[in-house]
Every structure is written in C-alpha cells, then in structure tokens.
C-alpha cells in the first residue's frame, strides 16, 4: 500500500512513455518512440503495516487489567498531512529551479479539463513546451488524447483513490521529466471534494466549472473554490440553451474567494481562450524569470556567480 496516500496495494500506477509513438516537432521534423511502457506500479516505501503490533487485540475486551499498566503522554504536534506537504515542497522546489510553471487543474468529472488542455496545447504548443500529468481512477484515455496533440503526457491511475497526491506526482515527474521553462499541467481526478487539501507542489490551483453544473457549485464546494487562483467557466457556448445565472455564479464564487479571477471560456468554440492564454503566458514568464534569479544566487550552479548572472540576464 502506498504509505502516503493509502491507496490499495499494487493499484496505483504510472503509465507509459511520455510521448506518443510519433512526435511532431514545431519545425516539422518527426521522430518515433518504441511501444508505450507497461503499467509500472508505484513501489511502497518500506512501510510495514502492522510491523509494530503486539499480541492480537480484538477489541475492548483486552488481556491487561485496565488502568494498571502505567502510561505516559507523548507530545506529537504534527500536521496530519506533513508527509504529503514534504513531497509537495520537493516538487515545488524542483519546479522553481527549472522555471517550470505548474498548475493543478481541478473540477467535477466532465467539466471539460481535458478538452481545455487540448485546445490550449494547440494554441500555445509552438511557443511553449507543455507537459501533462493526467490523473484518473482507471484508463489512460486522457493521456492518449493529450499525446495525440504531440505534447508529452503521463497517466497516473489511482485505482480506488479519489485524488492525486504529491508522492504520486513525484513519481510521474520522474518519468515525464518536463524540460526547463515548461508549462506543466496536472489534471487531477475529477472531484471537487478530496483534491482540495492535497498540495501537489503547484504554483496555482485552477478550478474548471462548466455552465451545465449550476451556478451554486462554489457554495456547495467552498473549500476547493477558496483554494483556487483562477476559475475557468467552461462551455459558455451552451448558455443560450440553459437557465444559468452568470452574475449569480460570479457572486457566489467571490463569496468563497474574493480574489478569485474568473474567465468564461469555450473549449469548443474558442471563446475566451485568448484571455486564459495571456494568464498562462504571464505565469510562465514569471516562473522563467524566477529561475534566472535562483541561478544568479552566489552558491548556485557549478560555473560560479559570474556565469550565473549572465545566464539570468539572457533568460
């Protein structure tokens, strides 16, 4: 069993080669890879369940006379999610050092995360390296859709799990190996509840809400909307066919998160996508600039401070 996420043993897997069989570069050259890799199971980190158990205890009726064994209090003072937070910090540090702009895309199932990603890759793919980590209980359908656009994608299957965690993302990153200054999209399991508290090391959570879901979703799932930096309101091309109160939805969203940026989009018609791309480009630019600053620190880089400063000036 994965000791961080508690998923069933052998069920969590990271699938496949990052690239599709045929990878088309922006300059038109094409190269091919071998077959997609076998489903590789995330290995347990030596956490023996029950290694510290004593004589079998079957419930309240215990062999010891209650109260006669001396006991002591031990202070722990540890966050329940400390281990996940530590993995997330490792991921975040790796992103910062490599100038990678990492986003955690969350929504209920079917809001249009994958469709938006496909649209985004087609629009930005010649100007930015975009790498994708997909999360679903089962299948690699989403990773395959992404790879069909030419962008590299790795699929995490959580088995029975309902959210991605930083430990799984760390494994996927090892396989995906996004290049320097890339935009990394992590498409979480479709679920507005559980992913909220699991930091993956991302720069921002982007919540996708579609107009077919009802305007009161932000009130129903306040924790997720509170933690997001941007809300993409998708499927706005369907508004003429729905009784969706746009103003009320925006008001509800701002009740849970006054600072939430909201962009109405359609992955199908392309409406609003340009504004989303500007937000992405600004974020990617900041990540790249920050990498330059880190590289310019006196103790970073093998070549010494002088070279690092020049490197940061040329971006």
């Amino acid at each position: 069993m994965c000791s961080t996420c508690g998923c069933g043993s052998g069920e969590v897997g990271v699938e496949g080669e990052a690239h599709a069989h045929e990878h088309r570069h922006s300059d038109g050259t094409v190269h091919t890879h071998g077959q997609d890799g076998e489903l590789a199971h995330v290995h347990a980190h030596g956490h023996e369940h029950g290694a510290y158990s004593l004589e079998p205890v079957s419930g309240p009726a215990h062999a010891h006379a209650p109260g006669l064994e001396p006991s002591r209090m031990l202070r722990i003072e540890q966050d329940i999610l400390a281990k996940n937070d530590a993995y997330a910090a490792q991921n975040r540090s790796a992103f910062e050092q490599r100038g990678i702009f990492a986003l955690n895309l969350v929504s209920s199932p079917g809001a249009g995360k994958t469709a938006l990603l496909v649209r985004t890759i087609r629009a930005l793919g010649d100007r930015f390296e975009i790498s994708v980590i997909e999360g679903d209980q089962q299948t690699s359908h989403d990773a395959e859709r992404i790879r069909a656009t030419g962008a590299p994608a790795v699929q995490i299957n959580t088995g029975k799990g309902c959210h991605l965690d930083a430990h799984m993302v760390g494994h996927a990153l090892a396989r995906l190996d996004p290049p320097q200054d890339a935009i990394l999209m992590i498409e979480n399991v479709g679920n507005l509840v559980c992913p909220a508290a699991f930091d993956l090391g991302e720069a921002h959570k982007v919540v996708v809400l579609s107009v077919t879901e009802g305007e009161d979703k932000p009130l129903k799932y306040p924790d997720m909307f509170r933690r997001a930096s941007l809300m993409l309101l998708n499927k706005i091309d369907l508004l003429p066919y729905l009784e969706f109160d746009l103003e009320r939805c925006v008001d509800y969203a701002h009740r849970t998160n006054p600072g939430l940026r909201i962009i109405g989009v359609s992955a199908v018609t392309g409406e609003g996508i340009a504004e989303w791309l500007v937000w992405l480009e600004q974020g990617a630019g900041r990540a790249r600039a920050a990498r330059g600053e880190i590289a310019a620190l006196p103790d970073s880089g093998p070549a010494g401070p002088g070279v690092a400063v020049v490197r940061s000036l040329i971006g």
Binding site: G6, R72, I76, C162
Partner: protein
C-alpha cells in the same frame, strides 16, 4: 474530504512515534481539527478504528478537539469568528473574508504504555 487517507496518515504518525519511543501500546490519540478543515469528525473516528485494527494503536481512543475558525474581514478591517466556509461576516454580513484560523488538522499528543 477523504477521511480514510487522513486516518492512514494519523496511524503512520502514531506508529513512527511508537517506534521512536519504544511504545508497546497506544491507548489514546488527540487530534486538533479546525472547524474550517475538510474533516468530518465521526467519519474520521470510524476510519481510524478501521485502519488501526492490527497496529500498535488497535482499539485506541480518538479524542478530537475542535478549534475555532476565524477570518480577516476586509470590510471591517478586523479578525472575525467564522464557523463554516461560506458563512458571512458576523459583523457586516459581507463575504470579503480571508480564512486565517481553523483549517488545521494536527496530531497533538498520544497516551501510551
């Protein structure tokens, strides 16, 4: 929120402490769960009982201390009590709120022999 995952994490923290301190049996575990966290205490109790079954914490009591939620109201320019996410400011009735306390989930201490 997925209480089973959290219960596994609590157990792991308890087992790490048991190993470190040479504890034979854990009798009780105190958790501090914020009002605004994503944990439902009864679900947590149920899940912890289930996952602890064959461990050093089998049968251990789970004591859950709830800590109060609070937020900074931008309108009122002051800290206000907030009992749940989505509630309005008790002062001005508005929603310009930034949560400052009550989202924590911690293992505080344990009683062991």
């Amino acid at each position: 929120m997925h209480e089973m995952t959290l219960a596994e994490s609590v157990l792991q923290i308890v087992e790490d402490a048991a190993r470190r301190e040479g504890l034979r049996r854990v009798r009780a575990v105190w958790l501090e769960i914020g009002q605004l966290s994503s944990v439902e205490p009864e679900a947590m109790r149920f899940c912890f009982d289930a996952v602890a079954r064959d461990s050093v914490a089998a049968g251990a009591r789970l004591e859950i201390v709830t800590t109060a939620g609070a937020a900074w109201c931008i309108e009122c320019s002051e800290r206000v009590a907030l009992a749940k996410l989505g509630a309005a400011c008790p002062g001005c009735g508005g929603y310009q709120l930034r949560v400052t306390e009550g989202a924590e989930m911690r293992v505080k201490e344990l009683e062991a022999e």
